[in-house]
């Protein structure tokens, strides 16, 4: 299992795209927003937490189809499925690798992008914390979507259509937590809900993803 994780991380680094691409996309979103809504820093400060969450979510979405599609194309998935690893472990590792290459960099760089959007001072900790708690759920849910669409030729758009509604609760609680942080309100409730969603998806969704992937490998 560790071998699979190491391989996926190594592949992400060798291919060049893995680590950087999502981050670059995030930066572009953050850069474009002021062009769209105007440069007034009070306005930006008010919407900064929401934009950052949305940007992170879209950057995550962008890289989902790579989670399984490459291994599908070169036959690795067939071979992994017949290897002595349970399918649930394979999809969990895949999700973890995706989070380490996409979600974690987003979390780490979010404060920098917060500066660009004049995120108010008290908002940084809750924002980073909410992203740290929420992005693993995005990766796990995304892996489920990727498993559903892995055999399809033009699955990218369908993948987005399937995954986005599933992202709604995570986005609501994550963005709400970041927003409350900015306004200096109590963040306990959304924090607990967000943590609950993440734990729940990590614990349960791999079974669905594995079942779906087995069906697609038939």
């Amino acid at each position: 299992m560790i071998a699979l994780l190491v391989r996926d991380l190594r592949l992400a680094m060798r291919a060049g795209g893995g680590f950087g691409l999502g981050l670059a996309f995030f930066l572009i979103v953050v850069t474009l927003v002021p062009f769209g809504v105007g440069p007034q820093s009070e306005l930006l400060a008010r919407i900064a937490s929401g934009i950052l969450w949305l940007g992170a979510l879209l950057a995550c979405l962008l890289s989902l189809d790579r989670i399984l599609a490459l291994d599908w194309e070169d036959g690795s998935l067939d071979l992994l499925a017949t290897a002595p690893l349970p399918m649930e472990a394979i999809v969990s590792i895949k999700a973890l690798a995706h989070w380490l290459t996409t979600g974690l960099p987003l979390v780490l760089f979010a404060p920098v992008f917060g500066l660009l959007l004049s995120l108010p001072e008290p908002g940084y900790m809750p924002l980073v914390l909410s992203l740290l708690l929420g992005t693993p759920a995005l990766s796990v849910i995304g892996t489920f979507g990727a498993a559903l669409t892995v055999g399809l030729k033009r699955g990218g758009l369908l993948l987005s259509l399937l995954v986005l509604p599933l992202y709604v609760p995570t986005l609501i609680f994550g963005a709400e937590m970041a927003r409350r942080g900015v306004e200096g309100l109590d963040i306990t409730t959304p924090l607990l809900m967000l943590a609950g969603i993440t734990c729940g998806t990590i614990a349960l969704l791999p079974f669905a993803s594995a079942a779906v992937l087995k069906v697609n490998l038939r």
Binding site: L148, G155, L161, L162, P165, L166, I172, I197, A211, V215
Partner: protein, 245 residues
């Protein structure tokens, strides 16, 4: 009645024979109760003292909203039956119900928006209920798109069933999330089993007739569409057999 006897209708041929017998009656009943309910509601009920004539919209809004949710519940049940017992008719019934449920969701959304315009002064408000229905509609879209995208019927049935299961959990979660996110403008439920707390009798009885009409219409449509899906599936199987030689 012996519940086990119900499984006999999981056979496609039996299903078509049985539904062919009842379909005309259900269709007639559906049309009669819809016409009676809507005419009663539209022409023969008074205005509400607060909402004026817009109260007449509930005869469409409430039944369609109910059916939008019940259609998804039915798909959830039939998906589970497919996963557990592998009856093809069950999976096809879920497929047949999805577009009906989606249209019901659209009707609920449209009537809600039209109602909201005079009541709240805006076509669209990010009210928890409206928002939840919008999300439900997205789930219907994704579900139907997944069915349409996969060529192999059994694979599609498996994948959509699991999507329906997972989607149900997330839809429920979204409902709570949306409630938390915005305490809404929407009035409380207009119906509950306890009639005392409800809308007045004058509105209540025609509403019940309308709900019955929508339920019957839904059943008739699902029977008809399931028959169609069964026949389409058999057509594909025969064509494939021809190709195999």
């Amino acid at each position: 009645m012996n519940l086990n006897a119900l499984w006999a209708y999981a056979n496609p041929k039996k299903f078509i024979q049985a539904t062919d017998r009842v379909l005309p009656w259900i269709s007639i009943l559906a049309i009669v109760s819809l016409v009676v309910g809507l005419v009663w509601g539209f022409f023969f009920t008074p205005e509400d003292y607060r909402q004026g004539s817009t109260v007449k919209i509930i005869y469409i809004h409430v039944p369609s909203a109910l059916m939008a949710i019940n259609a998804w519940l039915m798909m959830l049940v039939t998906s589970l039956v497919w996963i557990v017992r592998r009856h093809h008719v069950s999976a096809l019934a879920a497929r047949a119900a999805a577009p009906v449920g989606a249209v019901m969701t659209v009707i609920a959304l449209a009537t809600g928006a039209i109602w909201g315009q005079p009541m709240w002064g805006t076509w669209w408000a990010w009210d928890p209920r409206l928002t939840s229905f919008l999300i439900l509609f997205l789930f219907y879209l994704g579900y139907m798109a997944l069915w349409a995208a996969i060529e192999d019927d059994d694979t599609a049935a498996d994948l959509t069933s699991i999507l329906c299961l997972v989607g149900s959990v997330f839809a429920l979660l979204s409902r709570y999330a949306v409630n938390f996110w915005n305490q809404g403008l929407h009035q409380g439920a207009s119906l509950s089993l306890d009639k005392e707390e409800n809308v007045a009798d004058v509105f209540y009885y025609p509403l019940l007739v309308c709900i019955a009409g929508f339920v019957l219409l839904f059943i008739a449509l699902v029977f008809l569409r399931t028959q169609t899906e069964i026949r389409a599936r058999r057509t594909r199987a025969l064509l494939a057999r021809e190709r195999m030689g």
